[in-house]
C-alpha cells in the first residue's frame, strides 16, 4: 500500500519536473524525485541501492546540474560593425534592436554579455567562442548562431516576429570546436 502511494508520487513528481517553466525548479524537483525513489528502494528491501541513489541522485547530480545551469546562463554576443563606431553607449541607444534583444534574453533567465569587436566578422567566427555573432552593415544585419543551440531558435522566433522590418539574415554554423554554445 505504502509502496503504491510512493510510486504514484514518483510519477507526479516526474510530471511536475517536466512541466516547470524554470530549469532551476526542475532540478529541485528531480532531487526530490530521487529522494522518494530511494525510499521506494528501501521499502522493497534494497538498502544498498537506496543509499547509492540518495547520495548520487539527490546530492551530486543536483549540485552538478546547478553548476551547469550557472555556466550556461552567460550568453555572449559578439557585435561588429562596418562603420567605425566611436562610443559604445551611443551605439546601444541608437539601435533599439540590440536593446530589445538584451531584454528578451534577460526575460529568459540568461545573462547577455555584449562584446564589441573591431575585427572583421570572419575572424570572430573563426576564433571566438560565441553564442550569437551579429554583423551590422548599413542595410543588413547578419546574425550567426549555433545550429544545435535551442536558445537560438527562440531568438530567431522573437526577432522575426518583432523586428521583421529590418533586413535580418540568420545563419546557422555547424557546431565546431571553437564555437560551442
Amino acid at each position: 500500500m505504502i509502496e503504491d502511494i510512493f510510486l504514484i508520487t514518483l510519477v507526479i513528481l516526474a510530471i511536475i519536473a517536466l512541466n516547470t517553466k524554470k530549469l532551476r525548479r526542475a532540478v529541485v524537483y528531480l532531487g526530490v524525485f530521487s529522494l522518494v525513489s530511494s525510499f521506494v528502494y528501501l521499502l522493497y528491501g534494497a538498502p544498498d541501492v537506496a543509499i547509492a541513489e540518495a547520495i548520487i541522485g539527490s546530492t551530486i547530480t543536483t549540485v552538478l546540474y546547478l553548476v551547469a545551469l550557472r555556466k550556461y546562463k552567460v550568453f555572449s554576443i559578439y557585435y561588429t560593425n562596418d562603420s567605425n563606431f566611436q562610443d559604445i553607449r551611443l551605439l546601444k541607444s541608437e539601435s533599439p534592436f540590440l536593446y530589445n534583444l538584451e531584454t528578451f534574453l534577460v526575460k529568459r533567465e540568461m545573462e547577455p554579455q555584449i562584446i564589441y569587436s573591431r575585427e572583421p566578422i570572419e575572424t570572430v567566427l573563426a576564433q571566438e567562442k560565441f553564442d550569437l555573432a551579429i554583423h551590422h552593415t548599413d542595410q543588413d544585419i547578419w546574425i550567426y548562431g549555433c545550429a544545435e543551440d535551442y536558445q537560438f531558435d527562440a531568438v530567431e522566433d522573437y526577432l522575426l516576429t518583432n523586428h521583421g522590418d529590418l533586413n535580418l539574415h540568420l545563419m546557422r554554423c555547424a557546431e565546431g570546436e571553437d564555437n560551442e554554445a
Binding site: P47, D48, A50, I51, A52, I55, I56, T59, I60, V63, L64, L66, V67, A68, R70, K71, Y72, V74, S76, K129, E180
Partner: protein, 129 residues
C-alpha cells in the same frame, strides 16, 4: 550560487565531521551491513562537493588527487592478486574479514577521489566563464 549565504556555509561547516564519520562508517562496516566502498566513497566525495558551496572560488589541488587516484587503482589491482598468491590454501575467517575491509577502504578512497576530480574539473575548467 554566486552570492553564497552565511547560513549555508555555517551549517555545512558544522556538518562536515558527521558526514565524514558516516562515510567512514559505511566503508568500514560495509561487509556486514548495507553500504560498502562505492556508497561510502560517494558520501566522502559529497564533503568536497559541499565545500564548493561554502567557498565557490577556491579550487582544490587536483593533481595530487589524480596521483592518489592512480595509486589507489594500482593498489586495488595488486591487492587481490597478492592475497590470492600469498595467503594459505585454507585461509581463516579473520583473513577474509581483513581482506574485505581493506578492499572496501581502497575502493571507497578511489571513488571519493574520482567523484571529486569529476566535479571540480567540471566546475572550474569546462565550458564558459
Amino acid at each position: 550560487m554566486t552570492d553564497h549565504s552565511e547560513i549555508i556555509s555555517r551549517i555545512t561547516g558544522l556538518l562536515y565531521p558527521f558526514i565524514l564519520l558516516f562515510g567512514f562508517y559505511l566503508i568500514l562496516n560495509g561487509h556486514a551491513s548495507p553500504g560498502g566502498g562505492f556508497q561510502g566513497g560517494a558520501v566522502l566525495a559529497s564533503v568536497f562537493i559541499t565545500r564548493y558551496l561554502v567557498e565557490p572560488d577556491r579550487c582544490i589541488r587536483l593533481n595530487t588527487l589524480k596521483t592518489a587516484e592512480k595509486t589507489l587503482f594500482v593498489c586495488i589491482i595488486l591487492y587481490p592478486a597478492l592475497f590470492l598468491f600469498v595467503s594459505p590454501a585454507n585461509h581463516s575467517e579473520l583473513l577474509n574479514l581483513i581482506y574485505l575491509i581493506v578492499m572496501n577502504f581502497l575502493i571507497g578512497l578511489k571513488v571519493c577521489s574520482g567523484f571529486t576530480i569529476i566535479f571540480f574539473r567540471f566546475a572550474f575548467f569546462e565550458g564558459g566563464i
